[in-house]
Amino acid sequence: MAAGVKRQNQEKSAVKEKILPRKLIAPALIFSIALTQVPFLVTIYFSLMEWNLLKPQEKAFAGIDNYIYVFQTGDLLPAIIATVGLTAFSVICSLFVGLFFAVLLDRKFRGQSVARTLIITPFLIMPAASALIWKFSMFDTNIGVINYIVQKLGFSAIGWSTQYPYISVIILLTWQYAPFMMLILLSGLQSQSREVLEAASVDRAGSWRTFAFITLPHLRQYIEIAILLGTIMLLQAFDPVAIMTKGTGGTKTLAYLLYERAFVGMNVGQAAAYGVVTVILTIIVATISLRSLFKVFISGVNK
């Protein structure tokens, strides 16, 4: 009798054990689906409509007209190139700058933590503020500090954000994200075993050889993490384009293009079609990088 009750309790708690985690995760799951997946389904529906907010009475079913438009106007390919190019260049530049900073900071010297604090600050600044400050106090043709130096060196002033918007955006993004790369790589450098490094110096391996054959292989995992997280953040960078260049000079990314269609052109149907295409492209890119991200993280976690 007692044993039966006990078994019943055990069964009950086993069922509870199974249900509880589901109950715990359900609110987050439902919230996430409601605010990200459901709107996406609605976007697909919108993309099949002829719908301009300026002419609301002419709303009608359009079939794949919007998609035909998207692929025919020739805005799409440049936007893809801009998005991929800006992201790739910014990730690569900030990775190298970040690695350089990490190596500089990975030694004991007076005020090391102050120097590190100065260097991470650009990452903490509100991105909208960074874009504005760079545009008007650094890049400006009249009062920009960089142009002051350029002119002192004997060249004529450069209209950075108007003449070279592409490079300007990359400089800004690199300035913002190199500290992030540096933080991850620095913790990688600091997790190196001192014994191995000492053994290398006893063996009189030069510092370059030590760096190339011991430090870099050790850093590999950290570099992968830095690249993947940097890509997630930089793919969605909208502020510098919207504030600094307004999509000129090859900086019209997919996000900015969609913004322009929807909120300047007020064409919901076309903008939605751009949105759907953007998502499909992102899924292709993301699935590849996510799988590797996942491998890196799961192996990192389970170690």
Binding site: T117, I120, M126, W175, S187, L258, F297, V301
Partner: protein
């Protein structure tokens, strides 16, 4: 010989660090200039400091935008914590079979561009009459930060020693006691890091704020951008506004560097 080299490298590091920081210090310096001094063709390091720009910010009602930013950040961070703690707990301490699938789903929503959801959100909010509403904006921010929060939290929770949890279960602790009095106190620093990062992301967010808010609920980043449309000189007042807007996050980041790194790398880096 060796020490000369060390001094050289240290000197170089310092020069690089100060140069890299220069745009920030320049923003700070410009915020105390008069507009004429800020617009000088030769950069002015010596000038008569004034608080004029800051009082002009007050006149333009910056305090309202800061309040909106603060509300959006606090509300969204609270929502994220309420949703993420139980979910992360289920994914780490009481793992269910499909942990990997669930994690994959959450992180993939973070990859999903804002482009995918902004249009419907705009139209739905408009029809529900919650466009330009700080609570609605907060919910969007919560959805934006939830996946990262769950990932970070999971990594912090998975470090809780299994023995501690088992011991509490043997003592007959039910789930609530286990979570509230055993697990949470151990991971409190981790939760603080997650909260800080969610706060920073919401405080700095521009895209959704510029599109989903206008007069009432506008947050600080679009307010900053609005200076550009003004005529005449605006660099001093723009610098002052940027300084005020960036300062809370800079200070928080300086004091919590370690936790920030750990959290931002989603636990993959210790």
């Amino acid at each position: 010989m060796r020490s000369t080299k060390a001094i050289l490298i240290t000197g170089m590091t310092w020069i690089i660090a100060v140069t890299y920081f220069f745009p920030v210090s320049w923003m700070f310096i410009n915020s105390f200039k008069s507009e004429n001094d800020a617009a000088s063709l030769t950069p002015k390091f010596v000038f008569k400091p004034t608080l004029e720009s800051f009082s002009r910010l007050a006149d333009r009602g910056m305090i309202d935008y800061l309040t909106n930013s603060l509300m959006a950040s606090v509300i969204s961070t609270s929502v994220v914590l309420i949703l993420a703690i139980p979910a992360a707990y289920a994914l780490s301490i009481r793992p269910i079979v499909k942990v990997q699938d669930a994690l994959f789903f959450f992180i993939s929503t973070r990859f999903m561009p804002a482009a995918a959801s902004i249009l419907p959100l705009f139209i739905i909010f408009k029809n529900l009459r919650v466009l330009d509403n700080i609570f609605a904006l907060s919910l969007v921010y919560a959805a934006m930060n939830l996946p990262i929060a769950i990932w970070m939290m999971r990594s912090f929770l998975s470090e809780v020693p299994q023995e501690v949890i088992e011991a509490s279960r043997i003592d007959g602790a039910n789930f609530e006691t286990e979570l509230w009095s055993v697990v949470l106190p151990i991971v409190l620093p981790g939760i603080a890091a997650v909260a800080l990062i969610c706060f920073i992301f919401s405080w700095n967010e521009y895209f959704f704020s510029v599109l989903l808010t206008s007069a009432n609920a506008k947050t600080t980043p679009p307010f900053l951008a609005s200076f550009v449309d003004g005529r005449g000189q605006f660099l001093a007042v723009l610098s002052a506004a940027s300084t005020v807007a960036a300062l809370p996050v800079i200070l928080a980041g300086w004091f919590a560097q370690k936790q920030l790194v750990r959290g931002l790398a989603m636990g993959a880096v210790k």
